[in-house]
């Protein structure tokens, strides 16, 4: 095999291999899965069981500390910590009788720190009910400041409740859609080239890339359904993003039905090239615009940006971006193989 000619295929395989390994072996950051009590009244002494994930309660117990956190300036420190194992402990919080907030129900976050895991938090862990109206009164029982040492963070993916380990699907589901878009852009490009030159090779390339694009779209939909079943609760929630994606893929299905129904090659090429441009022009609003205009469960839709903040941190970027490049190279390879087989077939037919 001539390496100079095939380097990009090797590169694609190597990158996808890297994302499979890195995407699976890098651990998750420590996090809090649940607390045994979700609500309490002001003045209570509250004993709760905390269940963590990837935590080191036992190993880091010398400097283990827990706080309930109102906002950035109000804290209650936990007392009488009893560690059951690395991921389970019990702790008591004495909630002051007066809370420095005007609302009658106050959400407190649970903040845990130890030397091994660093700080990690469960937002809105406990809801405290109290009678407001004491604003301005000097309120006791609250700490104004805590000391946290944010040590060196080891390489780890973010911990998200509900998502947990499935956050890794970011490398095996999302890149399929990027790949689909890139390969379909290749398909439209070749369709335009066919319309301009009339050379049959561009029509065949366009069709081969569309086939691979559709394959990646179907795989994206299936992997998304499996992920949704275990995070949103159903394979198909009739979410706007899912529905619009299904419509977009059906439009591409029709492209192949159209091609199959036309016999004469010039007519077939022209009609399917024009339809290809139409299909791509509807794909973009269906996938990326309409889902943003309304509510959706899917990140990146419904005013819910996917690639900002903590949905994709720098550790994840080191796997996610290569995954897009690797899968795109593989898809391009697949499209070319399909195109080469098709060219051979035509040669035999017209011999």
């Amino acid at each position: 095999m001539n390496v100079k000619k095939h380097w990009w295929k090797i590169l694609g395989v190597a990158i996808v291999g890297y994302t499979l390994v890195a995407g699976l072996i890098v651990p998750l950051k420590p996090g809090i899965i649940s607390v045994s009590h979700k609500s309490a009244n002001a003045g209570d002494s509250l004993r709760i069981e905390v269940i963590g994930y990837n935590t080191h309660f036992e190993g880091g117990k010398e400097d283990l500390k827990l706080w309930l956190k109102g906002d950035t300036t109000f804290f209650i420190q936990g007392q009488d910590v009893m560690i059951a194992d690395e991921n389970t402990l019990e702790v008591t919080f004495v909630i002051p009788a007066l809370l420095p907030f005007d609302r009658s129900v106050v959400e407190l976050s649970l903040l845990i720190y130890n030397g091994i895991d660093g700080p990690f938090i469960l937002p809105s862990a406990i809801f405290i009910t109290h009678s407001p109206g004491s604003a301005g009164v000097q309120i006791g029982g609250w700490m104004k400041k805590i000391d946290l040492e944010i040590g060196s963070s080891r390489m780890a993916f973010p911990f998200r409740n509900i998502l947990k380990e499935t956050i890794r699907n970011t490398y095996f589901h999302v890149p399929l859609w990027f790949t689909m878009i890139f390969i379909l852009i290749g398909s439209v490009f070749n369709a335009l080239k066919y319309l301009r030159t009339g050379a049959i090779i561009y029509d065949e390339k366009s069709s081969a890339y569309a086939t691979v694009g559709l394959l990646f779209g179907i795989l994206g939909l299936l992997t998304g359904a499996v992920w949704a079943k275990n995070t949103w609760g159903a394979y198909w929630s009739f979410d706007i993003k899912q529905n619009m994606t299904a419509i977009a893929l059906l439009i591409y299905f029709a492209y192949f039905v159209l091609r199959g129904s036309l016999e004469e090659s010039t007519q077939k090429g022209k009609v399917s090239a024009v339809y290809n441009i139409f299909a791509f022009a509807t794909l973009i609003p269906l996938l990326y615009i309409i889902p943003r205009l309304t509510d959706s469960l899917h990140p990146g839709a419904g005013g819910n940006p996917a690639f900002g903040g903590e949905d994709l941190d720098n550790t994840m970027r080191m796997v996610f971006y290569p995954a897009i490049i690797g899968w795109t190279l593989l898809a391009y390879w697949m499209g070319n193989l399909l195109h080469r087989a098709q060219t051979l077939k035509n040669k035999i037919l017209f011999q």
């Binding site: 998502l163 380990e165 890794r168 095996f172 394959l215 795989l219 992997t223 499996v226 995070t231």
Partner: protein
């Protein structure tokens, strides 16, 4: 049934899928992806086999 379709059995067992931080959901996603690529390969293989047979018949 469950022996023939281990994946079906798995998807019915929510406890299993929820164990170890739902890592098996990632495993299933990768299997689906792999199955898709393999399906593509088999179809391409069939297409090329047909071409080979046609060339043989022409000779």
């Amino acid at each position: 049934m469950n022996l023939m379709f281990p994946l079906l059995a798995v998807s019915k067992n929510a406890d299993f899928l929820n164990s170890i931080g739902k890592i098996y959901v990632v495993v299933i996603v990768i299997i689906v992806l792999f199955a898709g690529i393999v399906t593509f390969l088999f179809r391409l293989d069939r297409k090329i086999t047909q071409l080979e047979n046609q060339i043989k018949n022409n000779e």
